[in-house]
């Protein structure tokens, strides 16, 4: 044991370096990957935005106490919650919009909006369910209008409860968008898969993909914890 043991053999490192170069640098592959990532992020953001609005609408109808609105919404959300988003996406792409020239990306946004909407609606409903009716009443007695009471009392409290679950929904949404390759959209997963097939070394490309998805998830958590620390409701 006179010589220091070689912890990492040099040829292994070289192999990694060349793999890195082949997969991500050569032929400006990183630009393609970036573009794929952009698609994933944009798709997720739009689906989240519309999904949250749709969720609020779903939730509002379910709590409205009007049976003729409540029942159809309950059926729709139950179906959406109970089925894989991939099937919904394929159904929309191959059946519903099969004969129209609608852009695949728009169809994907629609599918994920529906999916997210159903989840967000449930999150909102459970958060509102545990809130104290009496604090609402107290605020109304101080002269708050219904809308103002909702804004200053209900919303901040509901947000606090819903936040961790909502955060997970976003992370799940980003990860679930990886199936849009099925309907010809070149998102991050599809791009990395293409790179892997080109170089014949899929391990590196796919592993790198996992790292990017992890990074995106951490970013979501990071954004939420910044807001939390500043105490913004």
């Amino acid at each position: 044991m006179l010589n220091e043991p070689e912890i990492i053999p040099m040829d292994f490192l070289e192999k990694i370096a060349s793999s890195f170069y082949n997969n991500l640098i050569a032929g400006d592959a990183y630009l393609v990957v970036m573009k794929g990532m952009l698609t994933t992020v944009m798709l997720s953001l739009l689906a989240l935005l519309f999904g949250t609005i749709l969720g609020a609408v779903f939730c509002g109808t379910r709590l409205s106490g009007r049976k003729f609105l409540e029942v159809p919404v309950r059926i729709i959300t139950t179906m959406l919650l109970g089925s894989p988003v991939t099937l919904l996406l394929m159904l929309l792409y191959y059946v519903v919009f099969a004969n129209s020239r609608t852009d695949a990306l728009i169809i994907a946004i629609l599918a994920f909006t529906l999916h997210t909407g159903a989840h967000v609606s449930e999150i909102m409903r459970s958060a509102l369910g545990v809130l104290s009716r009496r604090e609402w009443e107290a605020s109304r007695m101080l002269g708050f209008s219904e809308l103002a009471a909702f804004r200053h009392i209900t919303l901040p409290q509901a947000w606090k409860i819903a936040k961790p679950v909502y955060q997970n929904t976003i992370v799940n949404l980003i990860q679930w968008t990886s199936v849009v390759g099925y309907v010809t959209i070149t998102d991050l997963t599809r791009t990395l898969n293409n790179v892997g097939s080109r170089t014949g070394d899929p391990f590196f490309a796919l592993f790198f993909g996992i790292l990017i998805y992890m990074g995106l998830s951490w970013m979501v958590h990071g954004l939420f914890s910044i807001r939390g620390k500043r105490g913004v409701a």
Binding site: S132, R134, E135, E137, A138, S139, R140, M141, L142, G143, F144, S145, A148, H152, I153, P156, Q157, K160, A233
Partner: protein, 364 residues
């Protein structure tokens, strides 16, 4: 300033308010008392339109707030409610709880609202808790903050819905002392309460609610001393006697003494009487009865009555057992210190026995 005419409210088949008439003057302190389920809370909440009355009118300064074109938010700005459960905003600290409505509803500046809030916190004695969260406060403190939150809107009327029912005696006193401070400041106070001594001492008028109406109303001295109508009499009667049942050797002695204490305060008995009653009851039960009932579970009923005419207090012990009079020479308890004390204090003793029930009457 408040006039209520023929107010009715049903929950399903149950008619809770059955044509209430009442008028309350500006700056008055009104205590609403009555048995449980008489509709006290519903009546109070109707005044704030938290319960929508089925019919009837509520005039505040001549304006009918049940009318369709009333802006209830505007009315409520001048009418506060302090509820049994405090209901502080759990996501805000004390300061923000108090200043939220003044800033958002009355459009005060933050500095203005906070300065006012500090004055109010001083009034309720909680300046040091200005930045605590509601969950860090005791019930009594939370209720005092709730009162301060109400006052921050400079209300003309404050409704209290059993403000101390969720509190222990010490915290109850904290809160009642604050409400006492508020009376006579020009704010109209309407208080649903079970604290009879509070109603007696602080209220200008007392409403006794029963059968869904203001069954009887009057100045506290009149209503408590000389109730006119039958149900009021029965209600006041239940306040005059204290009953306590003991069915186990490990009965709650502390609770019993606390109730005797409460009873004495309710009847304006001084601490000497209070001490004597507690002593007599405790000595007899602990030293004599529980000793004698050694083998069996006690079945003992204690009644304390006060007759204000001659300031006489009557203790009645009823117990199911073989004939047993502890004051009888043959019982052999004369040497017991407790017995000596009770014998010395009592004005007279009476003893009866029938159908297996002993009845011992001691007048103090």
């Amino acid at each position: 300033m408040i006039r209520i005419d023929n107010l009715t409210k049903c929950f399903g088949p149950a008619k809770i308010l059955n044509g209430i008439h009442a008028s309350i003057n500006k700056g008055e302190c009104i205590a609403i008392i009555g048995p449980s389920g008489a509709g006290k809370s519903v009546f109070l909440r109707s005044m704030a339109l938290l319960e929508k009355p089925d019919s009837g009118t509520i005039l505040i300064n001549g304006k009918d707030i049940t009318a369709k074109d009333t802006d209830i938010n505007k009315v409520r700005e001048k009418m506060g409610l302090v509820a049994q459960g405090f209901n502080l905003f759990s996501h805000l600290n004390v300061m923000n709880n108090i200043t939220l409505a003044p800033i958002q509803v009355r459009k005060q500046t933050k500095a203005q609202a906070e300065a006012h809030a500090m004055e109010l916190l001083a009034l309720v004695g909680l300046e040091e808790k200005a930045y605590a969260m509601p969950s860090e406060l005791s019930g009594g403190q939370q209720q005092r903050i709730a009162i301060a939150r109400c006052l921050a809107m400079d209300p003309d009327i404050i409704l209290f819905d059993e403000p101390t029912s969720a509190l222990d005696p010490v915290m109850t006193r904290e809160v009642l002392s604050i409400i006492r401070k508020l009376s006579g400041r020009g704010i109209t106070l309407v208080i649903v309460t079970h604290e009879m001594d509070f109603a007696r001492e602080t209220a200008d008028r007392v409403f006794y609610l029963d059968e869904g109406t203001v069954y009887e109303e009057g100045k506290p001295a009149d209503l408590f001393k000389n109730p006119v109508r039958e149900k009021t009499r029965a209600f006041v009667k239940t306040l005059e006697t204290l009953r306590f049942t003991i069915t186990s050797k490990s009965y709650d002695l502390v609770a019993m003494n606390a109730r005797i204490d409460w009873f004495c305060r309710l009847h304006g008995l001084d601490s000497r009487h209070n001490y004597r009653i507690q002593l007599a009851v405790e000595e007899l039960i602990q030293e004599i009865f529980l000793h004698c009932f050694n083998a069996i579970n006690p079945d003992l009923d204690l009644t304390v009555e006060h007759f204000s005419v001659n300031n006489e207090i009557v203790l009645i012990f009823k117990y199911r057992w073989e004939l047993f009079n502890p004051f009888d020479q043959q019982a052999g308890h004369q040497d017991n210190l407790g017995m000596t004390l009770v014998t010395g204090m009592a004005r007279s003793f009476d003893f009866e026995y029938s159908d297996g029930i002993n009845k011992l009457i001691i007048k103090l």
